[in-house]
């Protein structure tokens, strides 16, 4: 009975380790270990087809030399960057901030506007793809084609002619609510008397916005940028159900590229190499965030 000889505090500390074990084990087994295992896999010719599926062999950095000379890899990085900037950094943020600011005014139907804007946020990825395929449907009866038809624009093949823009619009649509909610709380945390003082000094709306609101909102904006960049970087299902990375790789964000290389070309080793690059990028973002925001634990 070792336990008897331990103090209450020591026993409790032991007990606590036991309590966190299941969660830590599950995360270690299915997230942390795989992340490191990806590095090992990226150095092999592991595949799902051919002799390499039975016994793979170590190929050194061959996957990485291929990756850095593969125009499709660079294309996927470029597409990811545009996608993240276009939807998370610009689209969601701009519409979210506008909504947050407008909803602070003394206007009616606030609750209705609010619920409509929040609606897309919770919709499952598959349904997002499903309903936007109908929005973007080609021909004069496609919903978006009818809408632009009101302004005299000819029917377009949206997913073919403007594929990257099309998925940016969808992801913006989905994320306005998150930006709005976060920024609203940021706006609320700005003390009222700062505004009062500024108004007494005769500042205009524009001056108040750029000199007071925006600077004091900065921590929230920064936090928002981090969370939305990370989530947008990790998007898969939304693009997969809409375009699968096509046409001609124009929407092949990095998650789709990993999937296509690993499970339609069946090159697990190469897919793992791309995954390693993707992991490194997100870890860099994470470390930057932890430092810059001085995360308190």
């Amino acid at each position: 009975m070792v336990g008897m000889t331990l103090s209450y505090e020591a026993r409790k500390q032991l007990y606590l380790r036991l309590l966190m074990a299941p969660a830590l084990l599950l995360m270690a087994g299915l997230i942390v270990f795989p992340a490191f295992y990806a590095i090992a896999l990226s150095l092999t010719n592991e595949a799902l087809l051919g002799f390499a599926a039975r016994d793979s062999s170590f190929v050194g950095l061959r996957n990485f030399t291929r990756l850095f000379t593969d125009p499709l890899f660079w294309n996927s990085l470029k597409v990811t960057l545009i996608f993240v900037i276009g939807s998370a950094v610009i689209g969601q943020f701009a519409f979210g901030l506008l909504s947050a600011l407008c909803l602070r005014r003394p206007i009616r139907f606030k609750a209705i506007f609010n619920s409509i804007i929040v609606l897309p946020n919770a919709v499952p990825e598959m349904v997002v793809g499903f309903i936007w395929i109908s929005m973007y449907a080609t021909g004069e009866y496609g919903t978006l084609n009818r809408i632009v038809g009101w302004f005299g624009v000819e029917p377009q093949q949206w997913l073919f002619s403007f594929p990257l823009m099309a998925i940016i619009i969808v992801n913006t649509w989905r994320g306005i609510a998150f930006a709005m909610i976060l920024l609203t709380s940021g706006l609320e945390s700005i003390p009222k008397d700062v505004y009062e003082a500024a108004k007494v000094d005769g500042a205009t709306d524009r001056q108040i916005f750029f000199r007071i609101t925006l600077p004091m909102l900065m921590p929230t904006i920064f936090l928002y940028m981090f969370v939305s960049t990370v989530t947008t970087f990790a998007i898969f299902g939304l693009v997969y159900t809409l375009s699968r990375g096509g046409p001609a790789n124009s929407t092949e964000i990095i998650g789709i590229y990993i999937y296509n290389q690993s499970f339609t070309a069946f090159q697990l080793g190469y897919g793992a190499a791309v995954a390693v690059v993707s992991l490194v990028i997100s870890m860099l973002i994470g470390v930057f965030y932890v430092r810059a925001l001085k995360v308190k634990i």
Partner: protein, 306 residues
Amino acid sequence: MAGGATVESAASQRRGNLRAYGILLFISFYCAVPFLWVLVASFDAKPSQFLRWPEDVTFSNYSNLFVNESGMLWLLNSVVVIGIATIIVLVFAGLGGYALSRTRAWWKAPLLYAIILVRIVPPPALIVPVYKVMLTLNDGVNATINAVVSDPSQALFLSRIFSFVDGYLGLILVLAAMQLPLAIWIMKTFFDAIPVDYEEAAALDGASTLQTLRRILLPLALPGLAAAGLFAFISAWGDFLMPLMFTSSPELQTLPLGLFRAFLRIDRIDYGFLTALAVIYTLPAVIAFSFARKFLTRTFSGGVKG
């Protein structure tokens, strides 16, 4: 457009409000229009890919879901898989969050930083190694099943449940694991706010740690568990990647994959069935989000103080 209106003239205030209405109408239009088709088509007797006002309004698309066995089966599968995954997340994150909050081990800080980093690992980057891990576990499960059961149909039944690839167990665990980092973070911050005094008082009264946990901490932790559970549920419910990777048998399909596959059957798309099912699939997530909303800000700013 900024806050209080003490000095603002009535005219400029009205102008500003009008502008706000305009902007909000535009954004609401953008947000709402895509839903019209799925809603309207689900009540249309002859729905198509295009938005149009139905000639015959019908509820049969919905009632057919209960007749059409696959729709019901996908729904049940989703409820069971996501339900169990959420429960696992709640239990593991509840215990883990509490322990992390109270532990005094030297590795507490590094571990917490590590969890932040784990939180931002993009799931698509994990599919290859996770698939390999699941394969290894799966080989073990199959070997065990083959050693214990000789009847192929029973073996099939067992492998449906315990397999890591194309089985309930694997999908449940992988979905739970992906939600854990956020949930454990929520619970840890939550327990940080609950003073240690309660537990110590209970301990002095002779209660065991487990008793303390159940009688005193569980009731206190319910709001935190609600937040963690709602976020885990929404995220797992909407996830597409993991079901895509780890299910194939039609009997095991959850809603996202069932819908997706039915939609790919280009020669035979039943839009009535699909839209009605999509509405049913969306509802729980939207309802859960309406509850989760108020936790959103706190959750994401948790642990961030400038």
